[in-house]
């Protein structure tokens, strides 16, 4: 008996050790590039073979906050777009996801394929064709047009994530609520929404990240009138000012890291949201 009871903790602590090793490794993978950015962003005249920059400088940061800097404008545009695209993609995606997750019907596979198709076709091909039409419809060069075109790559992820949630969801709870006298809205608010909330968080996260990092679509449809962080970052990176590029990259990833940290608990394996990808 004694031997059995002592074995359990050992294997448990080994598992825990391995778990921490894996976590440490992942953190290492994620943080190393950021550390390089960090050093670069504060360096001046940092040439090989110096391991660390000899000259520390705030020049890059000064040009980011300078009066002529386009960073504040880009951050604002990126934020408006990401928030708007996230909200509208979830609102559009919910009914579609519910239908795909709960019901089987003729042609469901075709519809699923059509929904995934934007992830298969290269964005530039779609964008070139859309650009002409968007110009004709007056949607070129403004936030509305750029937001609409962001929905193209965003929707597949939102619909797929949410349909996964709905495939594990039992709609009979809604019928119970209705039979107890709850209205449509009250049922959605008190029954449906809490059940699918983790899925909505994950879908929103996808939507936000895809919109936030969109370059070519923003550039084409924005026609230079809508400057976002990726547009600014790409043009800066095409020059050779590594310090400025690094500083701008840090500004670019900071909001994403913040949001990931805040929503991390919904991303854990126990949440019903992730299971849905098993469907694919």
């Amino acid at each position: 008996m004694a031997s059995i009871s002592s074995r359990a903790p050992t294997s448990k602590s080994l598992a825990r050790f391995l778990h921490y090793c894996a976590v440490a490794f992942l953190i290492f993978l994620l943080l190393t590039p950021l550390i390089a950015f960090f050093f670069n962003a504060f360096s001046f005249r940092w040439f090989y073979p110096q391991l660390f920059p000899k000259e520390i400088s705030l020049r890059a940061w000064e040009s980011i906050v300078a009066s002529n800097s386009k960073v504040p404008e880009a951050l604002l545009n990126s934020t408006i777009l990401a928030v708007g695209v996230t909200l509208s993609s979830v609102i559009i995606g919910l009914p579609a996801a519910r239908a795909l997750g709960l019901y089987s019907f003729r042609g469901k596979r075709v519809i699923e394929f059509l929904i995934i198709s934007p992830t298969i076709v290269p964005g530039i091909a779609v964008a070139m064709g859309l650009n002409i039409n968007f110009i004709r419809w007056g949607l070129s060069g403004n936030l509305l047009g750029v937001g609409l075109v962001h929905l193209v790559p965003v929707m597949p992820y939102v619909v797929l994530t949410l349909s996964g949630v709905f495939s594990n969801y039992n709609p009979e709870y809604e019928q119970q609520a209705r039979s107890l006298g709850a209205g449509m809205l009250a049922t959605f608010w008190h029954v449906t929404l809490p059940a699918i909330f983790p899925g909505i968080v994950v879908a929103s996260l996808f939507a936000y990240l895809i919109s936030w990092s969109q370059y070519i679509l923003t550039f084409l449809i924005g026609a230079g009138q809508v400057i976002t962080m990726p547009v600014l970052l790409f043009s800066t990176a095409s020059g050779s000012n590594n310090a400025l590029t690094a500083a701008m990259s840090l500004v670019f990833v900071a909001p994403s890291i913040l949001i990931l940290t805040l929503t991390a608990r919904y991303l854990s394996g126990k949440s019903s949201a992730i299971g849905g990808f098993g469907q694919l």
Binding site: F47, G224, S238
Partner: protein
Amino acid sequence: MFRYRIMATFLLCLVLMPLAAVAADDMEGPPGFDNWEAVLEEARGQTLNWHMWGGSDAWNSFVDIVYGGELMENYGVTLNRVPLADTVDAVNQVLSEEEAGVAHDEGSVDLIWINGENFKTLKQAGLLYGPWTLNVPNSKYLDWETGGFLLDFGEPIDYSEQPWAAGAFQWIYDTARMDAEDLPRSYAELGEWIGANPGRFTYVAPGPGAFQGTRIVKQLMYELCGGPEPFAAFDQSVWDECSPKAWEVLNAWEANLWREGATYPATANELNELFANGEVDFSLTLTGTGAARGIASGQLPETAKAYLFDANMISGFSYLAIPINSANKAAALVMGNLLVRPDMQAAQLDTNSLGTGATPVVDFSTLSEEEAQAFADIAAAIVGAADPAEFAALVPNTASEYHTLTEQNWERCVLRDEC
């Protein structure tokens, strides 16, 4: 005379041929405008969407602060600088708008920093506004007869493209690593140097967007095949005879290049970085002030310096063009005029202030004593520029067909060695 030495060699002022100065009032207006006053009036309150390559922090700040400030203060024009990763993006936008049937006063691109292929694309598509460059008042400061900028990569600019900065091909070396007398001064000497210093040289791979590399190959052809004259107009037999010689030389270098020529830097910026990090001993620039701006911005070591071979170094210009569908042509014209105003040209040159080191295109013989002195003072304080006497090696660019052929064939004949 000594103080004028740097500027005196910037090509344009070699042959002094003062133009009859045209007073602003009796000058004819640009297309669509009665006179210059009408342009100024219409420009007031407009927003100028200037699409330009955004990879240079120096350029971005200069344009925003100096030009943006001047436009706002004196002309009531708001500047919206649109940063591009590649100029071809702006050209594609104009082409797309035209295809979509956007009216010719409703386009989103007002002004493009442009040259070479991109200019040719817009010109051939008939999407350039103009001719206008002779109809802005400050055009009197340019030497349109002998300035050398009437051809852009061999393509006539037809007064629809405004030159505003002169460029010259220069090598960059590090005075801390090498003595001036040890520098190769021709491609033949460079070949010997490469053989003696394996792994210490590479060049930018010729190709679209990397015209510095194309220029290196074309300069080599000049040296191998009798200078720039045979290349002034296109002749297939010149190409057929000369290009194999060039490929032979370049392939002979290959074994002793950086990474044994298995790969080449794709852009001048990449080469610059290899040079700054000490991986190779030569970089290059087209900015007339050589290493000055790179030193000021910390991208080059303080001991970097530009120099030229003894002959066959290609010169060229930066231009501005206005698309035919620009919604704010008046504002674009005001900017075009501003760019060649002598004090702005001087500010551009001054790397010790906000300037980018772009060398002026104004003809110094049209300037007052004072204005000319301003250039001389700035030039005297610049560090890292090539020795002025070396600019005598400058020659004009080839006809654009050679440019295209070089880009098309280099990869096949040198990189893949299949010729």
